[in-house]
């Protein structure tokens, strides 16, 4: 559980939001959508390890 990770995710979120705004403003909606999608995927990749650990923890907890 890394504080850094939270900051990173937050930063990526903000950046994606700004990018989205700039891109829609200049009319490139499809690229904006793709950026948002990409951002989500990147964040997911970053925390996929933790999510799997979360599920493991829940499984072990309930099998107990």
């Amino acid at each position: 559980m890394d504080v850094n990770l939270i900051f990173k995710i937050a930063a990526i979120g903000i950046i994606v939001a700004i990018l989205n705004r700039v891109l829609t403003q200049s009319g490139r909606d499809e690229i904006a959508m793709m950026t948002t999608l990409a951002g989500t995927v990147v964040v997911l990749l970053m925390i996929i390890g933790m999510i799997s650990k979360l599920f493991d923890t829940v499984r072990t907890m309930f099998q107990l």
């Binding site: 950046i15 700004i18 990018l19 700039v22 403003q25 200049s26 009319g27 490139r28």
Partner: protein, 173 residues
């Protein structure tokens, strides 16, 4: 720690510069068109009011401008004077091709400017004046289109550049 910071700054500046370079294509084109139009206005004065023959006129203008335009006009002037060309159209086109490579003018601009070479110097004063006026109008249209593109793209590419740098930094750190 300090290495991270340096690395970060490097990534940020690299991506930022890329973004600015991409943006320049759009932000500097109107300026180049304007500069070119100013030089054409000088040419018109030389022709309509001074009746100066083209090779001399080009020389005079070359002395008054800077950068790629300077080379453009002096190259054409030299070729016409040197007797290696007897067709203004071909020499002008050659110069225009080179000019477009050295500035931010697009190929649409190139076609327009090259077309002017076909009528330059080949009719009397009144006719030339009309051609010049038409050319100004067309240049203005191109300039306005370029401004619009700039408005749409300049900010976008700059932002894109910096933010991508930031993202990469964050991902790597």
């Amino acid at each position: 720690m300090i290495l991270k910071v340096i690395g970060g700054i490097m990534i940020l500046s690299a991506c930022g510069v890329l973004g600015i370079a991409a943006a320049n294509k759009y932000s500097l084109r109107p300026k180049d068109i304007r500069r070119f139009r100013a030089s054409i206005q000088m040419l018109e004065t030389e022709i309509i009011y001074g009746c100066t023959p083209l090779p001399h006129a080009f020389n005079n203008i070359s002395a008054k401008v800077e950068g790629p335009l300077k080379n453009f006009y002096s190259m054409i002037s030299d070729e016409l004077n040197g007797g290696c060309s007897y067709n203004l159209d071909t020499t002008w086109s050659k110069g225009v091709n080179k000019l477009v490579g050295e500035t931010f003018l697009k190929s649409a601009d190139k076609d327009l400017i090259a077309g002017f070479g076909k009528v330059l110097g080949s009719s009397d004063r009144e006719d030339q004046k009309k051609h010049f006026e038409l050319f100004y109008i067309q240049l203005k249209q191109h300039e306005e289109a370029a401004e619009e593109e700039r408005h749409k793209n300049e900010k976008m590419y700059k932002t894109l550049g910096f933010l991508s740098g930031l993202v990469i930094f964050i991902l790597l750190v």
